[in-house]
């Protein structure tokens, strides 16, 4: 029977139509009745649907009768579609034997097409290239087919051309999966080893681990053991994705399914961990497990002090489903009590921020993101800091090291110059270039992460009219001449506005930040001086003039309610500001630094 199993995933650059294709496959196999079809079933979070990307991987089992008349079990494993989740993608790929590589017929090959393709090749997957969106008027499927041919060596005319949106040619994909993707290799007799490639938290069943059985069998009666986290448990239930959770009596090697673990936190059941039997454990865990390491840090503070408890609850709940989110208590002079949070990357941070605001209805301030620095002190000690406020005084510091990334930018060749310029401005170092397809260049650089997380992606997009795409990986820590830039508002240093920057940029950034803050800080009842300060001297200053006039005109026809509403609105806007000393500072000011680069 297992020779009728195919485990595969779909990989693509953002917006190339991965989720739409998944939907079509589900409909085509009657896994989901048309009437139950919500757009993009696999992306269950609203936020994903809105951003058009997949945040959580997911899986579904489809039953399909092929043209050869036989019934096949197809397990589709969805992969997260963003650069911050590279590790999660690699684990999901590890659970498959094949990958459908979707390329947009008008956009062509992009950075994440390449990044995901390389990941899939590393995982030894059979690649089935597909060109999507051929219904668009801007589609150029033949050119894109040539790009793919030069990339993969698959003959251009053999590449399936589809429109997932219109349902055109989609069935060909299923036939190709059956024909080309090898069935899993089976060893039912070995001790159980199953790869965890995703999980979610369920209030009744605990953490539900998404697994691919590599060897052995699993039944709900077995006592289980997670080899990396050490957790031991008896499952609440074992089952498959139909796509709803459908309990079964047994899962065998090669199959994809889930184990409801009853565990209370996803930290005990991380992606990449190996599930085995507690009674008859495997000798060795599956390779490739990594503990998620946050790379980007920011303070999250409630606008209203009394929301502190709610923020804590919300972060706890988010962490139930997100093992890569870390947080710890932080206090700021300016913002009082909040949390220092660690994220996989900028995109991960944005998602958490939006979820706190939208799903938990919290008014929050997110401070300027920072990376984790290694500070070597004169006495030889090394201090790791992820917030500028923690930087020791300049006299005590021997050197500061910061994380460097290898970044891969994929862009039409016409934007070569502007991309080079941007990277150079951000202290980047050119490494190499490659032309994987005609008219497209892949540029490899090394760049400090601190430069990457501040508005780099937006800048890249605007300089290349949205055509460039980006992928990045950590390489190492390197030392550089870094200083702390402090901001004084009304003669008080505002710790949440401080940042660590390169000494050569201190003057320019200090000036830019002050002029930005001057516009963002509303006029108060008194004049407010603001200053930027680095290495013991003031490098820029400005004054926010006192407010002179703020009064409503007449109340015509006795419309008191309207007047009151306007005042209430104004008052509410005020509440969203943070009192620092006796100055009201709006939330935007705390990430003004993000918008500094007008370049």
């Amino acid at each position: 029977m297992t020779d009728r199993i195919r485990n595969f995933c779909i990989v693509a650059h953002i917006d190339h139509g991965k989720s739409t294709l998944a939907d079509r496959l589900l409909q085509l196999t009657d896994t989901i009745a048309d009437r139950d079809m919500m757009e993009q079933v696999l992306d269950s979070m609203d936020l994903e649907r809105e951003k058009g990307v997949t945040i959580k991987a997911s899986a579904v089992r489809m039953m399909y009768t092929a043209r050869d008349g036989l019934n096949y079990e197809l397990n589709l494993i969805d992969t997260p579609g963003h650069v911050d989740f590279g590790y999660e993608v690699s684990r999901a790929l590890e659970a498959c034997e094949g990958a459908i590589l979707v390329v947009d017929a008008s956009q062509g090959v992009e950075a994440q097409t390449l990044a995901n393709l390389y990941l899939a090749l590393e995982a030894d997957l059979e690649i089935i290239p597909v060109i999507n969106k051929i219904d668009l008027t801007s589609a150029r499927p033949d050119e894109v087919a040539e790009e793919i041919e030069s990339l993969l060596g698959v003959a251009a005319e053999e590449i399936i051309q589809i429109s997932a949106k219109e349902g055109l040619n989609v069935e060909e994909i299923l036939e190709a999966v059956i024909e080309k993707v090898p069935p899993p290799l089976i060893n039912n007799e070995a001790p159980l080893r199953a790869l965890i490639f995703d999980s979610h938290y369920d209030a009744y069943k605990g953490v539900v681990a998404y697994i691919r059985l590599v060897e052995g069998k699993i039944s709900p009666e077995d006592q289980m053991h997670l080899m990396a986290s050490g957790a031991v448990f008896k499952p609440v239930e074992v089952g498959v994705f139909m796509p709803h959770l459908q309990p079964v009596d047994q899962l065998e090697a090669g199959e994809v399914g889930y184990v409801a673990t009853g565990l209370k936190t996803v930290r005990e059941c991380r992606v990449g961990d190996t599930l085995t039997s507690a009674i008859e454990p495997a000798a060795k865990a599956l390779p490739g497990y990594l503990k998620a390491k946050p790379m980007v840090f920011a303070g999250i503070y409630p606008v209203e002090g009394e929301d502190y408890g709610n923020l804590k609850d919300a972060l706890e709940k988010l962490q139930l489903n997100d093992a890569s989110l870390v947080y710890q208590l932080e206090t700021s002079q300016a913002l009082n009590f909040g949390y220092r949070c660690g994220f996989l990357g900028m995109f991960h941070m944005e998602i958490i921020q939006e979820r706190l605001e939208r799903e938990y209805d919290l008014d929050i301030i997110v401070t300027t993101p920072s990376v984790e620095y290694e500070v070597v002190l004169n006495d030889g000690g090394v201090k790791r800091i992820d917030s500028p406020a923690e930087l020791p005084s300049e006299g005590d510091i021997l050197e500061i090291r910061e994380p460097w990334m290898r970044i891969e930018i994929f862009t039409p060749t016409e934007f070569y110059g502007t991309v080079m310029e941007l990277v150079k401005k951000r202290r980047g170092i050119f490494v190499e270039q490659d032309y994987p397809t005609p008219n497209r260049v892949q540029l490899i650089f090394e760049l400090p992460l601190a430069e990457l997380i501040i508005d780099f992606f937006d800048q890249l997009k605007s300089r290349t009219r949205g055509y460039a795409s980006l992928d990045y990986h950590f390489i190492e820590y390197r030392s550089d001449d870094l200083v702390k830039l402090e901001i004084l508002v009304n003669n008080e240093s505002v710790d949440a506005l401080a940042m660590i920057i390169h000494r050569d940029n201190a003057y320019r950034k200090g000036q830019a930040l002050i002029s930005k803050l001057k516009d963002l800080i509303p006029r108060q009842l008194f004049a407010v001086p603001i200053q930027a300060y680095a290495s013991g001297r003031v490098i820029s200053r400005a004054n926010v003039k006192a407010l002179r006039k703020d009064v409503l005109a007449k109340c015509y026809g006795g419309d008191v309610s309207r007047k009151r509403k306007l005042l209430e609105k104004q008052k509410k806007g005020k509440k969203r500001m943070k009192m620092v000393g006796n100055v009201e500072i709006p939330q935007e000011a705390f990430f003004a630094v993000l918008r500094l680069e007008g370049d």
Binding site: K549, L552, K554
Partner: protein, 400 residues
């Protein structure tokens, strides 16, 4: 029963001005007779709630452009009002009018009907500014309207002026003030222009055709006007209003607007009109055709049962004002009164609790900021300081 004010809304204009976001419509004049019929029906409807006649001491006919109505329509309105309400002896009856199309004869007829206060939308004396505001008059018309009104027997005339107009300068504002002062009105209302969404002015701003008025310059104009008006013997009694002393009768302030600012009851009739009586704030349907339909269609009687004073079939929203909200609104409106402000004693007798008990902290803070003060003679009245008058919102916010 407390004496009430009556507001009548006339939502018709020949032409809409570029800054106007009031509830008014151009080109619907054919509906006027039906509208006035509906208005009278609504007035009767409210009167029927009460066993005794409601005492009324002010009537304000606003718009829109009330002076668009033929005299006979006013005749119908006043016939109804004087039949169903108990009109007080010194009733103040105001009508708003555009200077553009007034004639002596028309004004005389209005005066004969009992209307005794005329509020003229002069807005500016500068032709460029009038053109930008898309007003349909000039200075000659304004002067003539004032003179004709005096001749017709209007002893109480107000001029509305607007400052903070795009490209207006302190000098041009001073010229407007000078011309207005030369007309010797009894009352001034000075409004700072606010550009509202949905108005042509807002569109022009969006298209970059005009520049956003500078609020610092507007503040300067306000202070300039304060000084000028003081020199000429006008006394400020509200953030935007000044009046001169009458013949031994005290300040000629607008009694109708005082009713709003003191948060006392008023009845609002007409499309989009607001009322406040018996703990309820009411709002009428905005569109004149819907208003007419609601009042003149046959279903009126059936819907009567489940609505309460002072709602009518034209009411679309009723908000019950709790005492806590009444206190907030009393502060927010009362502090606009630059002379009388909020009286400690009146507050206590109205709400049964002291001003300090409810707002001790806020008052302390605002006194400290120099935005509020107690009157120097009796320390009985809390009011805005001269600085506070320009920063009223900063003050009112703290009381709501």
């Amino acid at each position: 029963m407390k004496s009430h004010s009556v507001y009548l809304h006339i939502p018709f204009c020949r032409h809409l001005c570029s800054y106007c976001d009031f509830n008014t419509y151009a080109g619907l004049e054919e509906h006027i007779p039906a509208y006035i019929q509906a208005l009278c029906t609504e007035i009767e409807f409210v009167a029927e709630y009460c066993e005794q006649q409601i005492p009324v001491h002010t009537i304000f006919i606003g718009g829109g452009t009330p002076s668009i109505l033929p005299v006979r329509e006013f005749g119908k309105i006043f016939q109804t009002i004087s039949r169903v309400f108990d009109i007080q002896e010194h009733v103040e009856i105001t009508i708003e009018a555009n200077p553009g199309r007034l004639s002596y004869g028309y004004l005389k007829s209005l005066r004969d009907l009992g209307i005794n206060r005329l509020s003229l939308g002069m807005q500016s004396a500068i032709p460029e500014e009038l053109r930008l505001l898309d007003r349909q008059h000039d200075n000659y018309r304004t002067e003539k309207a004032v003179n004709d009104a005096r001749r017709a027997g209007f002893g109480n005339i107000n001029l509305d002026l607007i400052f903070g107009i795009p490209d207006q300068t302190p000098l041009s504002w001073q010229m407007t003030m000078d011309l207005a002062l030369s007309l010797n009105p009894d009352h001034f209302s000075l409004y700072s222009l606010s550009i509202e969404p949905g108005t042509p002015l807002n569109d022009w701003l969006g298209e970059g055709l005009i520049s956003e008025p500078d609020s610092d310059i507007a503040a300067e104009m306000y202070e300039l006007a304060e000084a000028r008006l003081h020199e000429h013997g006008y006394q400020q009694y509200e953030i935007s209003n000044w009046a001169r002393k009458g013949d031994g009768l005290g300040l000629m302030s607008c009694q109708h607007n005082l009713q709003y600012w003191r948060n006392l009851p008023y009845l609002g009739f007409g499309a989009g009109a607001h009322g406040y009586a018996g703990e309820n704030r009411t709002v009428n349907v905005s569109r004149p055709d819907r208003y007419i339909e609601k009042l003149l269609s046959s279903e009126v009687d059936s819907s009567q049962n489940d609505i309460s004073y002072p709602s009518t079939p034209a009411t679309t929203r009723v908000t019950v004002i709790s005492q806590a909200e009444e206190i907030k609104e009393t502060m927010m409106m009362g502090l606009r009164l630059t002379g009388e402000g909020i009286s400690r004693r009146e507050f206590h007798s109205r709400f049964g609790t002291s001003l300090e008990e409810v707002y001790g902290g806020e008052i302390e803070e605002l006194l400290g900021l120099g935005l509020l003060e107690w009157d120097q003679v009796t320390s009985e009245r809390l009011r805005l300081t001269p600085k506070g008058r320009l920063l009223g919102n900063q003050v009112f916010q703290r009381f709501i």
